[in-house]
């Protein structure tokens, strides 16, 4: 069983990396990019029966820093 955790910066938290990527896209001549936010994706290969609550705990305790980040769990 697989789960995919997507971690993104909270709204209002400055994202210097997203900004740099935005600049680089503009430098390459791509117009019409309004904003870029960078995050990360973590794929978990889990034992069958791992509960949603277990994955939530993983996110809160380690995978995301909830001071600055949101997380989204998708089961594959």
């Amino acid at each position: 069983m697989k789960a995919r955790v997507t971690i993104t910066l909270k709204n209002g938290v400055l994202d210097p990396q997203g900004k740099a990527i935005h600049h680089a896209l503009e430098g390459l001549g791509f117009g019409g990019v309004n904003d870029v936010r960078a995050g990360k994706m973590i794929e978990l290969d889990l034992a069958d029966g791992t509960s949603d609550a277990d994955i939530e705990e993983m996110c809160k305790k380690l995978l995301a820093n909830t001071v600055i980040e949101n997380y989204r769990i998708e089961r594959a």
Partner: protein, 219 residues
């Protein structure tokens, strides 16, 4: 005063911090490996050093915060031991929850390694009592993730309670309210991005960092 310096895989300021502790206390610090579950008895001051613990994997300080020794450090802090986290050590302390907020990528993206001017925002703490209020000091920084973030309510509380120890006196990394170092509620835990241990001998070009270690010895 008995001191300890925590050593993680990837720490690289542990020996510099040990030298600064030894100069201030006259005693060699205990070097404590991250896998230890207990600290030696009678430790009064614990240093969490700079570096790149666990290669900064996931987030700076995130893996180190989960290492066995940090539980012992948290217990010691709860009992009143002084804990000083410098640079990566500050990141570890926020990830551990011993200090509020988070250290994010520098606003300008680049790694910054230079001397910076700081203002002493609280000269009453055990760490800063040898500085004058609002004194300007020079201490070097060397970091990629030093951009201090906390929500507005937390920042207001830190300022209201005198828990901002140091501020940058110039634009450095985009930190909220120019915060360079914060104290915990009890005043016995300090995290700061600048490196006082790199400004504590005449050969370093200044002694502004030495006062922090001397203050702890007389605390």
């Amino acid at each position: 005063m008995n001191t300890a310096v925590i050593v993680f895989p990837g720490s690289n300021c542990d020996r510099d911090l040990a030298v600064a502790f030894e100069q201030a206390t006259g005693k060699k610090p205990h070097m404590v490996w991250h896998r230890e579950t207990e600290l030696p008895d009678g430790i009064d001051l614990i240093g969490v050093p700079g570096g790149f613990s666990y290669g900064d994997y996931l987030r700076s300080g995130a893996m180190a915060a989960q290492s066995p020794v940090m539980r012992a450090v948290s217990d010691a802090a709860a009992k009143g031991a002084y804990v000083l986290g410098i640079c990566n050590g500050f990141q570890v302390l926020t990830e551990t929850g011993l200090l509020p907020g988070a250290l994010m990528r520098n606003a300008g993206i680049q790694f910054i390694c230079r001397d910076v001017k700081l203002t002493v925002a609280n000269s009453q703490s055990a760490f800063t009592s040898q500085y004058q209020a609002d004194e300007e000091i020079i201490i070097p920084v060397a970091h990629h993730d030093g951009n201090y973030f906390a929500d507005a309510a937390t920042l207001d509380r830190l300022e209201g309670e005198g828990r901002v120890a140091f501020r940058y006196a110039e634009a450095v990394n985009g930190s909220a309210r120019n915060i360079a170092g914060v104290l915990n509620e009890g005043g016995n835990v300090l995290g700061m991005m600048p490196h006082p241990e790199r400004m504590s001998e005449a050969a370093h070009g200044g002694l502004d960092g030495k006062k922090l270690f001397d203050a702890l010895v007389s605390a």
